[in-house]
Symmetry: D2
Subunit: 308 residues, 4 copies
């Protein structure tokens, strides 16, 4: 499988990890949801991210998921989340993933980092440990990590680490950060790919600011595919029409903590996974919340029909 | 002016504090925006909240704003944000506000509180300091305060403090919290008013869960007024139609930090305030962001026409 | 090996994990430092704690360390730190450790927990996952975890979870917490063992408050052994004399982040480990700091001679 | 009164604010404690710091304390803490303090700052608001503020802001930071004064690293005076002997939150203030803790006699 480069673009779906009601990995559903993501138009997949419940896996499970999805994806690039409290585990999973055929690895900063120099130093160490041949996606998600990566720190990392080829952008607010990064590139900084997360909740604006696509796991990846396509084609109004039709559910799915249960509920309702179960300590939706999500899905379907 | 009670409901608009380009308070704009809020159908106003840039005011300015808005509001209830690091300042502003005719005061927990007992103890102390006659609105906004108020802590406060008559609800996710509070009331707990914040971003669902209305400052308060009215009238589809039309801008305005500049830009574009300026350290919108907001406002207007 | 019970007491040394300069585990040094801890009078050992650089190990390394130390310790109880972001890894290592002959496991709360109910729920889940036969040490270390465990939450956990037999106490300030826990036990709550951490920096006072001993890794474990012995024998003045002689170094070793490098430097100077190296991202002492530590050790030796 | 400069050195005592049992300011005790600090050898005073319970004062009380202490100090330099959530209050109190004769103002960063650029921008704004003629002390206290100021950010502030003449150093661990700052000055950076806080718990080492003295409020300021004198005189052993004698109490007084009550208890036992009361929400010592402090004070007196 080819490796991730700075030219990567389009929609990389953050894959869920399906479980059965006992908490065991549901391998059939993992195959099916992989297929569905690709049928929906995904250009790549990202597994073992936060929303893939990565920290709940044992090391053996993680390795098995990597192998299973890469085999199933049939050559479509697969990025593997390898964030870990320690460098040994990060490097261990990262190199194993690359050996298995991953296109690259994704690394979020540990919550203890504070200053620009600490953040820069961390990524230098990570990239050195992984080696120059392992493409790295920098996940910038302050709401969850607690780490605020400044323009200066991000720029320094890009300068320091040639293997950082992509930013998974989910700073919030974060639109101006994309503009400033692209302006720095116009001024000579090395170009990297920017794929945006946060459930897609600012996708049209992010594309207008210079993002290359989306890397997120909203339960209707066809939204990301169509918005990215339309924005690239200059069909701004169309992009917003599609986006707005999905926005009520996007908003609902973006709720921290609860969001993954919403996403799995929707994927289960679509028949993409056999159970909406999360592995503990995660919990599923209560009856009232599930009904709320169902009503949003129904409204969404009607609105999509209206806009055609 | 009559005081706030547990029966309060409807829309309390979180008022901005208008400044001119030098950072001085623009009193004419304060009068005008007060008028516009009331014309839009507000049932009450809340001043000197976080989005009213309260911490940036001197003590004298705060007192003057309280007097000005209460006089202008002509009997409509005005809630005054009095959160402060120390009890002396909180009590000082609170009692002065009540003397001036405020309907009640709003208090967010200081960020140092962690355990249920600490949070409960803090509100007991605040209510004792203010005295039994000062109605208190508990602002529950973990994203900003960093303080997570559990159901148990909230219940204990309601039990302990008869003067806590309202919850300004902006926990996120927070829908189930409303349901659990209402369930506890069905089981015998004292009923309090629940008005919801977060820029209105979950207003239809919050009303369905048992909220009594909204207390937030979205730049188009007519959205809150119509959604609350429609939900109370059982016109759920209408409520969602209106809400969905505004949602792209609501989403944009809910960005932490940036949101107030977006709100002031929209209010300025509407002619409700003479300048979109924030007082330092706040900053206004850059050109690209302002254009983005303008496009959202234009789309919003078209969509509102479509739904009638 | 016998399992940990509520009656555990004395000194459990938090063991370092020795590395060579390349970052590889130095198994000979691990054997030697294990021996030295026991010769110094340790009643037990705790491995793979935060100061054992646990998060930097791979799963295989962790398992190997467990086996090695338990075998070497020859029947002395060994507690194994198993804190992990996810329950699967925690349970996996915990059960493997118990199978290998561990006396119990130690679990710190994940940093995302905030409310009493969340903390209580977390430990209920952990204890259920491990099963009733696995003794659990609750590590209460807010400075590092960010989780403040109130008296109420701690009491609820003790009530809920019979397998929680020990508190590793390192709240700061935390003396009154010991007194309140012992008062609650006098009022009928189940008694648990309390061993104190924080590098021993309040050990005489903790013993006077009702602690059962120390669980910490200060580089001179004979200090803990003698202070605990003296306090138990009613020799308060002696306990303080010994403690005070070590206090300048205790203070220096308690510096967050830096402390482990200080500890390893002292153990290396003593010949207990062959290298003071930390595994990355940890770093050793710079020359100036090392000299400072050396001077403190020299003063400490002289003061110990004076007090006899 | 003359203004603070980069050449400031010696001991600036962080003054308590004495209250009576009702929470009212005890002006007589404020006069007396001011006198005692100066008799103990203080080179300056710092009022309205965190340990002066500044956030609990009303604006009027703060102004009155400033005037009272400056008048009483009779020309000894007085630094005034003016940290506030908003710039208007900070500037208001700062300029008023300078008009009253303060030597300078002290500003800690608000907890919302994260990146180097944000911290640098904040101090640039503060210094611009205060004007070039107001000497500023930068308080670097991450344990309480949550803001980690890197060497780079600190250096940039020194370069940007000529009015920043002093660092109140209480980063922890922080010794190497002093060394790095002095090394940068050797390399050409503007020299500023460094006075150290943290209750004096690393004072001998800080002096050896290049600090100019102490700015902290330990209840026995004669400790700081003698340690600073001895270190400046090259009497290192004497400095450590004195320091070690006080260290058990220093350690006890450095407990976060509890520490101020310990300090006020000791000052009250010395007869320097008429009541150990803190203003709410602070609380005094319980009986057991008070007895513990008393025993430490007694041991300290005996040890001081031994060393002469």
């Amino acid at each position: 499988m080819s490796k991730l480069t700075e030219a990567a673009n389009g929609v990389y779906v953050i894959s869920v990890t399906p479980f059965d009601e006992t908490g065991a990995i549901d391998w059939d559903s993992l195959d099916r949801v992989t297929d569905r993501y690709l049928e929906a138009g995904a250009d790549g997949l990202t597994i073992l991210g936060m929303m893939g419940e990565a920290p709940k896996m044992t090391a053996d499970e993680a390795a098995e998921i990597v192998a299973r999805v890469i085999a199933r994806a049939g050559g479509v690039p697969v990025v593997v989340g390898v964030s870990a409290p320690g460098l040994a585990a990060l490097k261990g999973l990262g190199l194993k993933a690359m050996d298995t055929g991953a296109a690259g690895v994704m690394v979020a900063p540990p919550g203890s980092l504070r200053t620009d120099a600490q953040i820069r130093g961390y990524y230098a160490m990570v990239c050195e440990a992984l080696g120059r041949d392992v493409p790295v996606v920098l996940q910038d998600f302050p709401l969850v990590t607690g780490v605020q990566i400044s323009d200066e720190a991000l720029g320094a990392i890009i300068d320091d680490c040639p293997s950082v080829v992509m930013l998974k952008h989910e700073d919030w607010p974060g639109l101006a950060k994309i503009s400033r990064l692209r302006a720095a590139e116009a001024g000579g900084r090395r170009h990297i790919s920017v794929l945006c997360g946060n459930g897609g909740s600012f996708l049209p604006e992010e594309m207008a600011r210079g993002a290359d696509g989306a890397m997120t796991g909203f339960a209707y990846p066809e939204m990301m595919v169509e918005v990215v396509r339309a924005m690239n084609a200059g069909e701004t109004a169309r992009a917003h029409d599609v986006f707005d039709a999905y926005l009520p559910l996007i908003r609902y799915e973006t709720q921290p903590g609860l969001g993954l249960a919403v996403r799995k509920h929707a994927l289960w309702r679509r028949g993409w996974i056999a159970s909406p179960a999360l592995r503990k300590p995660g919990a599923g939706l209560d009856r009232e919340t599930a009904a709320e999500v169902d009503r949003l899905i129904d409204r969404q379907a009607r609105r999509l029909e209206e806009i055609g």
